[in-house]
């Protein structure tokens, strides 16, 4: 994998945020850490992120709200919930809102990385599936296109992440 996983990490617990960020980075992830939901949402616009790791209980914007907004704006992004206040209700609602996984603090880092990796794998798979579908669709339309136009379209699909 020549490309680092780009992770959005939001948690109001500063110490946990910094040390976990360091550990994830040591393992080759590109982590964008925020302790505030609004700042995270604002920054995400410019960053091309794969997976989000969100705390639930936070002052200001809480994890559930952030999850909804992220899913709304970046449907392909996979969101993993990591909360100290775990309950069946919040697990169900976040899953319904599109969360990929629901983890409870404290959590083993290996388990966390494994979940993040699987979420990323899912993203890759989705992207590939979408690319294949688009090529298939393009090939179906191929007779109506000029060879040059067809080549242009294929390049465009390939360059899309």
């Amino acid at each position: 994998m020549d490309r680092k996983i780009k992770l959005l990490f939001v948690d109001d617990e500063e110490k946990f945020l910094t040390s976990t960020t360091t550990r994830l980075e040591m393992r080759g992830l590109e982590v964008h850490a925020f302790s505030d939901g609004f700042a995270a949402l604002a920054a995400t616009e410019k960053l091309d992120l794969d997976v989000a790791l969100l705390d639930l209980k936070m002052p200001g914007m809480d994890g559930e709200e952030l999850l909804k907004k992220l899913k709304e704006r970046f449907p392909q992004m996979e969101v993993v919930i990591l909360t100290g206040h775990g309950s069946i209700e919040s697990a169900v609602t976040t899953t319904q809102s599109g969360a990929y996984q629901y983890l409870q603090k404290p959590c083993e880092l290996d388990a966390l990385i494994s979940v993040i990796s699987r979420a990323y794998a899912k993203i890759i798979a989705t992207r590939r599936a979408s690319k294949t579908a688009r090529i298939g669709e393009l090939m179906a339309r191929a007779p109506t296109l000029t060879p040059l136009a067809l080549l242009e379209e294929l390049k465009k699909i390939d360059s899309d992440e």
Binding site: K15, S19, M26, K57, G60, G84, H85, Q104
Partner: protein, 592 residues
């Protein structure tokens, strides 16, 4: 959460168990009522029947004595009538010529005395009152002139030609009375006279033993004894203790030296005398009085039994009452504890967050240090770096300890104790506890402290439980983003805690049911509906009041009023407290 049996210590027993003095008061009240209810009918009945009994007895005694007097008068009348008849038949008979010879009159007296031993002597008198012939013990009377004697003048003038004298002394100087008849023989008037021996007559008159303790005697119209037993008096004396003898018959009670007497009288027909039967009242009523005494003994024994039974019943009743009160107090206390444990359970879930976060930090920090030491990952041991991580691990561990301490602090205070409580401090502690649970809901808790420490004599643990319940309810009503204001109010007679929230408010139809058990608007599993009813119970048991004012959409204000000094033996005036409560709730600051 399972409920462990709750130990109830002496303090709580005292607080919720009716005090000894009130039990004593209860005992005396019940006893007095029992005695009044059982004794009044007994005493009233006894009195009524006693009165009736003696009234009947008196009537009966009077009737008996009256009948005796009348019957005896009849007997005496017949006796006198027979003497008169004998004398009259003698006077008109032709057995002898008038005047009779001495032997004839002696023989006649013998015959008469044989018939009637009360006859003492007999005499014959001529028209001038000369005692012509005499037979009897007083021979010296023969030849005397009786012309001026009372009896002679009367019999000479009398229409009926018969005269019976009162007792008098006469020539012989001894008490006697006479019966004289007038007759005519050979164209001349003659007078026959017999003398009655008063002693023998007395015996006959007093021979009445029909009634116990009764004596009979005869008096003339002036109340002088004509016949009397020796034990009572002598003839020709005035009879003592005589009532006014009105009418032919009658009965009176008279008081004398020997006690009260019943006196019955009956007029004689043959002579203007009255027969008197006199009986000591003690004799008349004696047997009845003994009966009455027995009845009194029975009544008094009943009284003793009733009193003893009442005392026993009261004691049993009060003991049972006190036991059931104690049981009730224990149940109430267990309910309070259950409410607390339930709150604790709900809070524990919320506080897991407060523990899990520091734990997550600790795990992350240690993990990071491991990573540093892992040659494939980190740069190796870095002293400054490691010290920083260790410091933060320690801090997080302390954070955990603080959470558990606060929670345990609330959980541990199970014993009930009345003591001095500073409401400001109590509020701070409670808010600390709630803050851990609601810090991330963006709910601000503002404490409006009283100007100086507000010390109240009450049960700190219980008040904390109620306040915690109110603040948590307020937080639930707000949900997210709002403010809870806790005001500590100093009033003249009491102290208040007001919890005002900017929550959803309570609809009026719910406000009335708010303090009822099991009333809840929360989803199933979110609340038991017992919190406010238990809070109400706790505050009431501490002599205080709890109330609410709320407007939908604006928020609610719950108010607790507590007496400054709670004394279970002398609970404060509930009506005054309620008035104060309404006054504070009604004031503009009372609403949210």
């Amino acid at each position: 959460m399972s409920l462990e049996p709750v130990k109830v210590d002496d303090e709580i027993n005292k607080a919720f168990h009716p005090s000894a003095s009130s039990l004593v008061r209860l005992r005396y009240t019940v006893l007095a009522q029992l005695l009044i209810v059982s004794l009044i009918p007994l005493v009233a009945l006894s009195w009524y029947f006693r009165r009736q009994f003696f009234a009947t007895l008196e009537a009966r005694s009077h009737a008996l004595l009256g009948t005796t007097a009348a019957g005896h008068a009849e007997t005496i009348d017949r006796l006198i009538a027979s003497k008169v008849a004998t004398l009259r038949s003698l006077a008109h008979s032709s057995v002898f010529q008038l005047p009779p010879s001495k032997p004839e009159i002696n023989a006649l007296l013998a015959i008469l005395r044989d018939m009637d031993e009360t006859i003492l002597d007999i005499g014959v008198f001529d028209a001038d009152g000369n005692h012509v012939r005499y037979a009897g013990p007083f021979e010296f009377l023969e030849g005397r002139s009786y012309r001026g004697e009372e009896w002679f003048r009367r019999v000479a003038a009398a229409e009926s030609a018969v005269y019976i004298s009162d007792i008098y002394l006469g020539y012989r100087g001894r008490p006697h009375f006479i019966i004289a008849v007038r007759t005519t023989a050979g164209g001349r008037s003659w007078y026959l006279r017999i003398t009655i021996n008063p002693d023998r007559f007395n015996d006959i008159v007093d021979n009445v033993r029909l009634v116990e303790g009764a004596h009979a005697f005869i008096v003339n119209r002036t109340g002088v004894f004509q016949s009397v037993p020796a034990s009572i008096g002598t003839v020709l004396e005035r009879a003592p203790l005589l009532p006014a003898l009105d009418g032919a018959q009658g009965i009176r009670e008279v008081r004398g030296a020997g006690g009260p007497y019943l006196v019955a009288w009956s007029s004689l027909r043959e002579v203007d005398w009255k027969l008197i039967v006199r009986q000591e009242v003690a004799h008349a009523y004696g047997p009845a009085r003994r009966t009455a005494a027995w009845v009194l003994v029975i009544v008094l024994t009943s009284l003793v039994f009733i009193v003893a039974a009442s005392i026993y019943a009261t004691r049993t009743l009060v003991r049972r009452y006190s036991r059931s009160e104690r049981d009730r107090a224990r149940l109430v206390e267990q309910l309070f504890q259950a409410g607390k444990l339930s709150t604790l359970g709900e809070m524990a879930a919320g506080m897991a967050h407060e523990i899990n976060n520091p734990l997550a930090v600790i795990v992350a920090e240690t993990g990071l240090m491991e990573d540093y030491l892992d040659p494939t990952l980190g740069p190796g041991f870095d002293r400054a770096e490691f010290l920083g991580h260790l410091k933060s691990i320690k801090e997080e561990a302390y954070r955990c300890r603080e959470v558990t301490h606060k929670l345990l602090g609330f959980a541990r205070r199970t014993e009930s104790r009345i003591g001095e409580v500073d409401l400001n401090r109590l509020t701070d502690e409670t808010v600390d506890l709630v803050n851990m649970e609601i810090a991330l809901e963006n709910i601000e808790i503002v404490i409006e402290r009283s100007a100086r420490p507000l010390i109240v004599m009450t049960d700190a643990g219980k008040v904390r439980q109620v306040l915690l319940n109110l603040v948590r309810n307020a937080a639930d009503a707000i949900g997210k983003d709002g403010r809870i204001t806790i005001s500590i109010l100093e009033r003249r007679e009491c102290a208040g805690l007001r919890v005002t929230d900017t929550g959803c408010g309570i609809p009026p139809e719910h406000q009335a049911k708010l303090f009822m058990p099991f009333f809840t608007t929360k989803a199933v599993g979110k609340g038991t509906g017992l919190g406010l009813s238990i809070s109400h119970g706790i505050i009431t048991s501490l002599g205080g009041r709890i109330g609410v004012s709320s407007r939908v959409g604006e928020g609610s204000a719950f108010l607790i009023l507590l007496p400054r000094r709670f004394d279970p033996k002398a609970p404060p005036d509930a009506a005054a407290m309620e008035k104060e409560l309404q006054a504070v709730l009604g004031s503009p600051a009372g609403r949210g």
